[in-house]
């Protein structure tokens, strides 16, 4: 019982990341009809927004104090982060919470990158075949990841989580399982709740605002909405930017869990495509459900008990699920009937 609960929890944060990326992919596919292989790279760019933010906020001034000597006999160097000089106590707080705070940087940056990408390249590919869309976005993904590699270097850059959230939550005791039976790192819990929040935000935007209503109408029938005098193209561009923001936020908050390096995006991309396909191309609830489902499946498959029965299952479970789903139920778990079903 407690082992099952532990695996369930373990799957939640990864599932949250899958679900967020898949949500963005689905938004782009549902609105613009574009298969975006560069979406993983957007996730990676988000993670590097966090890296940049931390580097900015920890810029230091170095002053030497001639009255004191360091162990090497040279004058002692005192490093004070600029943030501390300006904000005092507050500065230390800012540095501690650099990861969640970089969301403030990531939102405008990712929005701009997304819109620039759509206006710059993607829009020329609406009428081309899916194969060509895959190819151009794949090339774009390579370019983005290599640019990041050129700037930040090939090694992973670890990002500390806020010290207040560094420990683990004793989840087991909350539901009466006794102390320290099932523990779960706080940050993962935060990530899970955060992903739920972002998803809720996207759904609320689509559901309860006029903008969302128009976009949904455009997803259902672009031409008619266009004929009614709505500039649907511009709204779809904004949706592309929004999808980039969602991917970026997923990346920002993921940095304390996995130190980001330039090919983080590629590692997630293949998986999140699988998630989209399992959930059903173009179905937003499907993407979310499939994200969590596959995250949890993966964490169950990596239990030792399961691995002894079927060796190697943890390595292929996600792909195997995708193959089975695609062959048995081509439109995915929640796909609309007739949507890319061939």
């Amino acid at each position: 019982m407690d082992a099952i609960l532990a695996q369930l929890l373990n799957g939640l944060d990864k599932g949250g990341a899958y679900a967020l990326i898949a949500l963005g992919l689905t938004l782009v596919f549902g609105t613009l009809g574009v298969v975006n292989f560069a979406h993983g790279a957007l996730f990676m760019l988000g993670a590097f927004c966090a890296v940049t933010f931390r580097e900015l906020i920890t810029l230091e001034t170095v002053t030497t104090d001639p009255t004191q000597l360091s162990p090497w006999g040279t004058p002692l160097e005192i490093r004070t982060p600029l943030a501390q000089t300006w904000f005092g106590e507050w500065g230390g707080f800012l540095i501690d919470y650099s990861v969640p705070l970089s969301i403030l940087l990531a939102i405008p940056v990712m929005l701009l990158i997304g819109i620039a990408m759509e206006r710059g390249i993607i829009r020329f590919f609406y009428k081309r075949s899916h194969a060509e869309q895959i190819l151009v976005t794949y090339g774009l993904a390579i370019v983005l990841q290599e640019v990041v590699k050129a700037i930040f270097g090939p090694n992973p850059i670890s990002q500390p989580m806020p010290p207040a959230l560094a420990g683990a939550a004793d989840v087991g005791s909350w539901i009466g399982l006794g102390a320290n039976v099932v523990t779960y790192p706080w940050w993962r819990l935060v990530y899970f709740l955060f992903s739920l929040g972002v998803m809720g935000g996207v759904f609320a935007l689509l559901r309860f605002t006029t903008f969302g209503m128009v976009v949904r109408a455009g997803m259902a029938d672009r031409e008619t909405v266009g004929l009614l005098g709505v500039n649907i193209g511009r709204r779809f561009t904004i949706m592309f930017g929004l999808a980039a923001v969602v991917a970026g936020l997923a990346g920002v908050m993921y940095t304390p869990l996995v130190p980001p390096n330039y090919h983080l995006g590629m590692d997630f991309l293949v998986l999140s495509f699988v998630v989209v396909v399992v959930g059903g191309m173009g179905s937003l609830p499907g993407a979310v459900a499939a994200g969590f489902l596959l995250g949890i499946l993966q964490s169950f498959a990596s239990m030792n008990e399961v691995k002894t029965i079927i060796p190697g299952i943890d390595q292929i479970i996600v792909y195997a699920t995708a193959v089975v789903i695609l062959l048995v139920r081509p439109r995915g778990l929640m796909g609309r009937r007739g949507m890319m079903e061939s």
């Binding site: 194969a131 590699k149 390595q315 292929i316 792909y319 062959l327």
Partner: protein, 379 residues
């Protein structure tokens, strides 16, 4: 002399063979005439030729072809380890294994088309890659790569000759390859592979595949079961990939799982696109260009850049060299990505289309022939 093929095709083949065989001569001024690189030219040309039989003729975009390359390599190395250092059995086994795997993967993947087909092949290739790194380590030797050892059984070889000192090298009928021989062997294989591809392109089978690409629905309405044709194309192209994999193992008896990674599958897609999808020579040219520039660009460093931009005044040279250095050496992938995007955006038909456009322009006396030659699809 009665020719086995139309005169035009025969001339193409003869020219192609001439170009391949004389590679050591015409690559000399380009600084690429050493065996290791020329072998790669030949091997990746085989790989791209095979990929083009699937993608170029049927339009099915596979994102998992590197899996077959990897399987071919592993099979060939195992044939070296267990049986003999002779290349013929190694190649045969590699092609057969890749073909068998392709029957399974192809049968399942071809149940879907379009993007779903791409994702299915991608998923299968990732499964192969992950398994090669984890559970199949006894077969693949995991991260350390599969290689020859001094204690290999090599049943057939050792029945005829005692075990020599040091690791043996691959060879043909007891003669070990050395120097340029390895390249010439690969070159002969490439020419044969080109010949078969030519035959497939001009055969009724190739015609059928092209018809499937242009309109699959109409093909099925005319009573054609398209499945066996696409599956055959898939298996043939996987066999080409297996053959290329075995050649990689022949020139360097070492097989690692990174050959099966999906970026490797992406590379062959790029070669085909760059050269020209659906043309015979295009993918070969694409493979050569990419391997050539990969080799040249990744060897560049700060020093060579400084000499290249030596004519610039000091104040300007440094930033120029700084920017340029991001595109060469380790940054070669960035250049590759940019080329990829530019080709897909501006020249979807690849270099071959560029050549065609230029010749058409020259023939018409400077007026570009936009769309005049394109057949209009009857809807």
């Amino acid at each position: 002399m009665p020719l086995l093929m139309p005169r035009r095709d025969f001339i193409t083949l003869a020219l192609f063979a001439l170009v391949v065989i004389t590679m050591p001569v015409w690559l000399q001024p380009l600084g690429a005439a050493y065996p290791g690189l020329m072998q790669k030219f030949a091997i990746y040309a085989v790989f791209a030729l095979g990929f083009n039989i699937l993608f170029g003729l049927t339009g099915y975009l596979s994102f998992g072809h590197a899996a077959f390359l990897g399987v071919g390599s592993y099979t060939a190395v195992w044939s070296f380890k267990l049986l003999t250092m002779d290349v013929i059995p190694a190649m045969l086994f590699a092609v057969v294994m890749a073909g068998l795997l392709a029957i399974v993967i192809g049968y399942l993947s071809l149940k879907r088309s379009g993007i779903y087909f791409s994702i299915l092949t991608l998923a299968f290739a990732q499964m192969c890659y992950n398994l090669a790194y984890s559970v199949l380590t006894p077969i693949t030797n995991g991260e350390t790569s599969l290689q020859l050892t001094l204690r290999d059984p090599r049943i057939i070889d050792l029945a005829f000759a005692p075990r020599g000192a040091g690791l043996p090298t691959a060879g043909l009928f007891g003669h070990s390859f050395s120097g340029l021989e390895g390249f010439y062997f690969c070159a002969v294989v490439l020419i044969l592979a080109f010949f078969f591809a030519q035959k497939i392109f001009s055969s009724p089978f190739g015609m059928t595949l092209r018809a499937i690409k242009s309109n699959q629905t109409r093909m099925s309405y005319t009573g054609f079961d398209t499945k066996p044709y696409t599956l055959t194309a898939f298996v043939i192209s996987a066999m080409y990939a297996g053959l290329a994999g075995s050649l990689l193992a022949i020139t360097d008896p070492l097989a690692g799982a990174e050959r099966m990674q999906w970026t490797a599958s992406g590379e062959v897609v790029l070669m085909t696109i760059l050269g020209g999808v659906g043309t015979l020579v295009g993918p070969v040219i694409g493979a050569w260009l990419i391997k050539y520039f990969e080799n040249i660009f990744s060897a560049f460093n700060q020093g060579t850049l400084n000499t290249v931009f030596g004519f610039l005044p000091d104040g300007i040279r440094e930033p120029v060299v700084g920017v340029a250095s991001k595109f060469v050496g380790d940054g070669w992938q960035l250049t590759l990505g940019l080329i990829f995007v530019l080709v897909v955006v501006f020249l979807p038909g690849g270099i071959m289309e560029g050549v065609r456009r230029i010749t058409a322009m020259v023939r018409r006396g400077g007026t570009p022939a936009e769309g005049a030659m394109k057949p209009q699809p009857a809807e």
